[in-house]
Symmetry: C2
Subunit: 255 residues, 2 copies
DNA sequence: CCTATTATTTCGGTGTACCTAAATAAATTA
DNA sequence: TAATTTATTTAGGTACACCGAAATAATAGG
């Protein structure tokens, strides 16, 4: 419960802890956190102690890690930075959606609050980034679209792609080559679970041609996450993560 | 003479070493370097050893520090980053010239080469930044305008402001309030050296009104540096630093 | 030329964020 | 439930970039 000298590592920890609960509500464990940050478990233990000292997380030994109110505030401000930066890079500097993640990852720790605000103004305060993720506002309010898991959708289901995870550039390029992006209308034409892997076949709406359908091979553990709107009406409704985790009800986060 | 894992500290050291010799040619000493970086002398000694190991500087104990060819290359790339960022922030994000320095200082360590290039393209590969400083090209070539020291100019001399140091926001705001910026036409209406300080009175060209002239009180030690073109013809000719150091001949640096 | 002053380097330490290996707690399963 | 496996934390150590204080070299003054 001390002051708050924040560092770029701290920002990363908090952001990852937040992200883990963005689309499902189980809190993250040390090991998962270590894996996502690419550091050793022991580093996490140590750092979590520090985060707790600064009142950014709640944590009892051997139990999962949860953000406090002020941890959530910090996390949402990092998420806002990241997503605004991605939007800006795509709209103003001609980046493609598969390039932006890494660059934003570095920049989010370096830019000032002024920079963020000027950028947001110039972009017209967007509420979704190029991957379809919601952008928190300056006060840390974020509205998650209501959602269902893609792996619960039946063949024949149509909808718009609402969101595609920005973590796998290779997947993004693959989807791009097949004409799939945010807001693309899709239809689930088939599905085949096997060997712990869920395979979803999707094609531009209307096509029933299984051979020409995009084959999405979805391992567990966050390898891939594609999101699909379950009704074709408005963008930004009824989406849910493909990989791991249980179905959760729609929610809104704010500090 | 080892490989080259660069860090943001190393980048700062090298950039400051370069800057010191940009407008005069005496090499920097440990103490001066420490002062400009805001670190202790002992930190500089240590770091300079490391820079030498990486073949970025030449240095014999107790003598001044000079960049090697590869040190100069790195320095010019940092200067390019910094000046392009300043230009971009002013032109694209509505920063004023007195705000940009700090922001660029942070960003220059974080952005990728791709980012720099896209930014440069969008700006049309400018060769001067908002303060009038020359921007090195992608190959590390920079052309310094030929120059005379402002403190050698006589009263009555007219010219355009070619360059104003970006290190003192307060000065920049002061000048701005008095309508002085890069490319403003000025006339030296008087001068008064006293107590180790040089005072220059300048006014918009034509005005002979000493009272309404801008009074520039120029201490030594890099407190202020204003640059004035000594002839009104083209921008980018005959400029020189105001503070400390001896007159040097025009030169061009490149790695 | 020798001494006093100033510049520079060396030495012993600090905080941050990592790591591996060892110890301990929790969960699984036999 | 006891034993094994897995998760987590603790212990001991590293690299980086910094610091103040002490030692040493260079410079300036008498």
């Amino acid at each position: 419960m001390k002051p708050t000298p924040t560092s770029s590592s701290i920002e990363d920890y908090v952001k990852v802890i937040y992200s883990f609960t963005e689309w499902q509500d189980k809190p993250i464990t040390s090991t998962q956190l270590a894996a996502r940050l690419g550091v050793a478990n022991s580093s996490v233990s140590e750092m979590v102690r520090k985060l707790k000292d600064q009142d950014l997380v709640e944590h009892e030994p051997y139990s999962p890690i949860r953000l406090t109110r002020s941890g959530l505030r910090l996390a949402l401000s990092m998420v806002r930075r990241h997503r605004l930066l991605e939007t800006y890079l795509v709209r103003e500097l001609g980046y493609t959606w598969d390039e932006v993640h890494e660059e934003a990852e570095l920049l989010e720790h370096a830019v000032s609050e002024t920079f963020i605000q000027r950028m947001a103004d110039k972009l017209g305060n967007p509420t979704r980034d190029p991957h379809g993720d919601p952008i928190p506002d300056a006060d840390g309010h974020i509205t998650m679209p209501p959602s269902h898991r893609l792996d619960e959708l039946d063949a024949g289901h149509r909808g718009r792609v609402s969101r595609i995870s920005d973590h796998n550039p290779e997947l993004l390029r693959y989807l791009d080559e097949h004409g799939i992006g945010v807001d693309t209308e899709l239809e689930i034409v088939g599905r085949r679970p096997f060997g712990g892997t869920l395979e979803v076949l999707a094609a531009p709406a209307g096509s029933k041609d299984m051979d020409r359908a995009v084959r999405l091979d979805l391992g567990d553990e966050a390898a891939v996450s594609l999101w699909v709107v379950t009704d074709g009406s408005h963008p930004g409704c009824t989406v849910q993560e493909l990989t791991g985790g249980s179905l959760m009800s729609p929610h809104t986060a704010s500090p």
